[in-house]
């Protein structure tokens, strides 16, 4: 103890004596940590700081929206840093255009894109601490190793805490090349670690965007056009301004904001607001017209995105040809926490606090609105009460920035549930025609998937940005089965309904079509749906392995009583491989009960295995909500549904038993937030077919009668 204190004193003197050495090295920088602003820290890179007490701060640049980013990221860093897990504090990173790379939380990328840079960041710090200890002891650094927040001199058993080494380590160059640990020596990655954000989430102390506040903060709600693309015509604000607490009524680009000293006053004020809208060309838009529009487009020749063999020739020769049409509706993200954003726009500075999945996008948007440079826009990502892709859009951030700029005061824009349901961006509806071919031996020899859907990238970014790619074929073009003749094509059919990425994006539609139609082919071939698929996948396929695992764990093939059925589906996306076996029960009146899901996932190295399981469980329930009854319908140019009574997510009493099996692996991690979603709907519909003989080809399931055929 005395020795360590002496070391601290000596190092302290050295640093004082070194004058501006820190600046020269560019690594000694005071970083304010909670309660010790200005205290010395070792900060070898943008992700890690270690103070003299050995406390480790890790910056997390991806949003925490329930998927466990603020636990998985520090696990990756701490593994290579050989940190003491108990000494870790996580700090959400402020938005920065380049420092952390992409900060967008989408595409299931937090772990898979962080895997290399975050481990290297930890390893670099570890190597510097080892060198610092070796120098202090005057020993060969090869005789030292790092473990649990200390460096150990192996021959003598001497140990130094990281906190005692930070000053010396700060004076060393940051190594460019570092060796990463062998997976067999992992003690954090792959282990069960309590989520770091859990305790505050159970006490009500966690601050979500909706909870962020300070004295005097104004609250606003916005009246928006009930019709897509409608424009403001006129407004009578007199009655709204009479509501106690309402202070101002302000026009912003998205509508008319009622600004008040409380949320309730703002909501009441909006009730009294009379706004006239130019409804524009979409005033008559309705779901049946969109369905017709898709169907008309299905007659058009599509842009071919995959061509293998010669489908037309195979079709002419094949004795068995199956064809079916599938369709899925628009659906909403509907996270529990409605959209919100607090903005404070000053002459030389903007502060933003919001639950966002794209803080860099928010920073750019605010800079553009205010004309300030990016470094004067400070964007703080709060905890997020559910994202699912919706918060990759920054429309709610823009509203708050416009409004604060107009008011010259800080303001929090909040959305009601109805605002969220009606003025969001939706998972695109789509229409699909699939044709399958079987040869005389009932082997599949052809697959033609014709897709009609809006393009998210074109609707959001326009034709001319070079991204006008057929994004809608994701998950369809990559159909993994070897069938010889494959033809996938796409007809873009954009509508006035705003669209965006929804957990698993187009994989949610295309896996439904792929896997349901594979089931149809298997039945037409008189084959077992699992064996039928296995026969079409290469022996070393990771997808094949999870399919086999899900089948084994679900006792596939074991008979079930009448009215019950199992359905299988598998899909690869975002670098991972998942297979689900659904079990359902349908009674004589067609009432459906989903009883069980057995899930298998190969996501490579699971960083936080319990977190992977949680994402699979959550993915099943999220996707079941959509598959069973999720539907956004359009009438009079706007969204019909408004609240959870008309867009009702699954409830606990409807929630099946969910068993998750992970494939042990040390391959680089794949994504986990999204891959569990796509196989859910097809496994469900295939199980319904097994139970009833009714083939569901249109989602949600509630739109099809499940009365057993022949009853």
């Amino acid at each position: 103890m005395t020795r360590n204190m002496e070391l601290r004193r000596r190092e302290f003197l050295q640093v004082l004596g070194a004058g501006g050495a820190g600046l020269v090295l560019g690594v000694i920088r005071p970083v304010p940590l909670a309660g010790q602003e200005g205290a010395f820290v070792f900060k070898p890179n943008e992700f890690i700081a270690i103070d003299r007490q050995g406390r480790v701060t890790i910056w997390v640049a991806r949003s925490e929206m329930g998927q466990g980013a603020r636990t998985a990221v520090p696990m990756m860093v701490a593994e290579e840093l050989e940190a003491d897990w108990e000494k870790i504090t996580v700090v959400p990173a402020l938005a920065h255009p380049t420092k952390y790379g992409s900060m967008s939380t989408g595409g299931s990328t937090t772990v898979r894109r962080g895997w290399e840079p975050l481990r290297r960041a930890g390893a670099a710090a570890r190597e510097m601490l080892i060198t610092a200890a070796a120098q202090y002891w005057g020993v060969d650094r090869a005789t030292c190793k790092a473990q649990a927040g200390t460096v150990l001199h192996m021959p003598s058993g001497r140990k130094l805490d990281y906190g005692d080494l930070v000053v010396t380590a700060s004076r060393l160059p940051v190594p460019q090349e570092v060796a990463l640990k062998d997976p067999s020596t992992y003690r954090i990655v792959g282990s069960k670690r309590a989520r770091l954000d859990t305790p505050e989430k159970l006490t009500g102390k966690a601050v979500f965007g909706f909870d962020f506040t300070f004295p005097g903060l104004l609250v606003a709600v916005v009246a928006r056009s009930p019709v897509f693309g409608g424009r403001f015509r006129s407004c009578d604000a007199a009655a709204a301004l009479q509501v106690k607490g309402v202070q101002r009524v302000v026009r912003i680009p998205s509508g008319v904001a009622v600004v008040a000293n409380s949320t309730w006053a703002a909501l009441q004020g909006r009730e009294k607001l009379v706004v006239e809208w130019e409804e524009g060309e979409h005033a008559g838009l309705a779901s049946p017209a969109i369905d017709d529009y898709f169907r008309r487009h299905s007659g058009l020749e599509g842009r071919v995105v995959r061509e293998e063999g010669d489908f037309a020739a195979a079709a002419a020769a094949a004795p068995t040809r199956l064809q079916a049409e599938y369709s899925v509706p628009f659906i909403a993200h509907a996270p529990m926490e409605p959209m919100n954003c607090t903005a404070d726009v000053r002459a030389d500075r903007v502060e933003i606090h919001a639950p966002m999945q794209s803080p860099q996008g928010a920073q750019e948007a605010a800079a553009e609105i205010t004309g300030l440079p990016l470094d004067q826009v400070h964007v703080h990502t709060t905890l997020i009460g559910g994202g699912f892709g919706r918060r990759l859009m920054n429309d709610f951030v823009e509203e708050a920035v416009h409004l604060s700029k107009a008011l010259g005061a800080p303001v929090k824009v909040v959305w009601s549930r109805e605002d969220d349901m009606r003025h969001g961006f939706f998972r695109p509806a789509s229409f699909h025609r699939v044709t399958g071919l079987l040869d005389a031996g009932k082997k599949p020899v052809g697959w033609h998937h014709h897709i009609v859907a809006p393009s998210i990238s074109v609707q959001l970014f326009g034709e001319g940005d070079g991204r006008g790619n057929p994004d809608a074929v994701d998950g369809a073009a990559q159909i993994p089965y070897r069938m010889g003749n494959i033809h996938i094509d796409y007809v873009m059919a954009n509508t006035a309904v705003p669209v965006t990425w929804w957990r698993s994006v187009y994989n949610s539609q295309n896996a439904f079509v792929n896997e349901c139609f594979m089931d149809e082919m298997a039945h037409a071939a008189g084959a077992d749906p699992v064996q039928f698929r296995l026969d079409l996948l290469p022996a070393d396929s990771r997808l094949r392995a999870v399919l086999q695992l899900a089948a084994d764990k679900s006792e596939w093939g074991k008979s079930l009583p009448p009215g019950r059925g199992r359905g299988i589906a598998c899909h690869a996306c975002f670098g991972s491989f998942a297979a689900h076996c659904a079990e359902v029960e349908v009674d004589g009146s067609g009432r459906l009960r989903v009883t069980r899901y057995v899930c298998a996932i190969d996501c490579g190295q699971a960083v936080n295995p319990d977190g992977v399981k949680a994402q699979m469980e959550g993915g099943v329930i999220f996707a079941l909500s959509a598959a069973l009854r999720g539907q956004i319908t359009i009438a009079k140019g706007g969204v019909v549904q408004g609240n959870y009574d008309t867009y009702e997510p699954l409830r606990i009493n409807e929630s099946p038993e969910i068993l998750v099996h992970l494939v042990p692996s040390h391959l680089p991690p794949g994504g986990v937030g999204e891959p569990g979603v796509p196989p859910v709907a097809p496994a469900l519909c295939n199980a319904i077919f097994a139970a009833t003989g009714v083939r569901v080809r249109q989602l949600p399931v509630s739109s099809t009668s499940l009365m057993r055929s022949g009853e």
Binding site: G66, Q67, L202, G204, K205, G245, M336, G385, G387, S625
Partner: protein, 156 residues
């Protein structure tokens, strides 16, 4: 505006609010108890659940006036006991994902366990079916309630 004397988490407070203001906003914005969440505003999601004289109620459907003379308990009150069996069980089962709905879930589970110390799965489903969770933590909520019941039974 009108004055209401309330008892929240064992403390007597007087609030001056519009009589129509839902209790939810009084708790969140007048008293700063933001653990009680807004999500639907019409009593279908349960995120705003608090206890009123021990009964789980939707604070978005009540006013301050409705709460006069009653004992209101929110997540902040319940979690003062950091090793409360429900919190321990919720941690052990790693229930929360985004966490937004969890205060309401815990409050509802508190009411359930005070009425049924050892609930069955179907009793849990019945008591908890009014509470939505978009992350899909239901299987873990079920497990955590059973676990909390077990921990409570073991308490002296």
């Amino acid at each position: 505006m009108a004055l209401y004397k309330l008892e929240v988490n064992g403390e007597r407070v007087t609030v001056d609010v519009d009589p129509e203001t839902p209790l939810l906003w009084v708790l969140r914005e007048t008293l700063g108890l933001t653990g009680t969440k807004y999500s639907c505003g019409e009593g279908v999601c349960g995120n705003c659940t608090v206890l009123m004289d021990g009964e789980a109620v939707r604070s978005c459907l009540l006013t301050a006036g409705d709460a006069v003379g009653k004992k209101i308990l929110t997540i902040e009150g319940i979690s003062r006991e950091t090793d409360h069996p429900l919190l321990v069980a919720w941690r052990e089962e790693e229930v929360s994902q985004c966490g937004y709905c969890q205060p309401g879930q815990i409050v509802a589970a508190y009411a359930l366990l005070s009425q049924k110390p050892d609930p069955t799965d179907s009793e849990i489903d019945e008591a908890m079916s009014g509470l939505l969770c978009r992350c899909g933590t239901y299987p873990r909520i079920r497990r955590a309630i059973h676990r909390a019941a077990e921990l409570k039974r073991r308490q002296p």
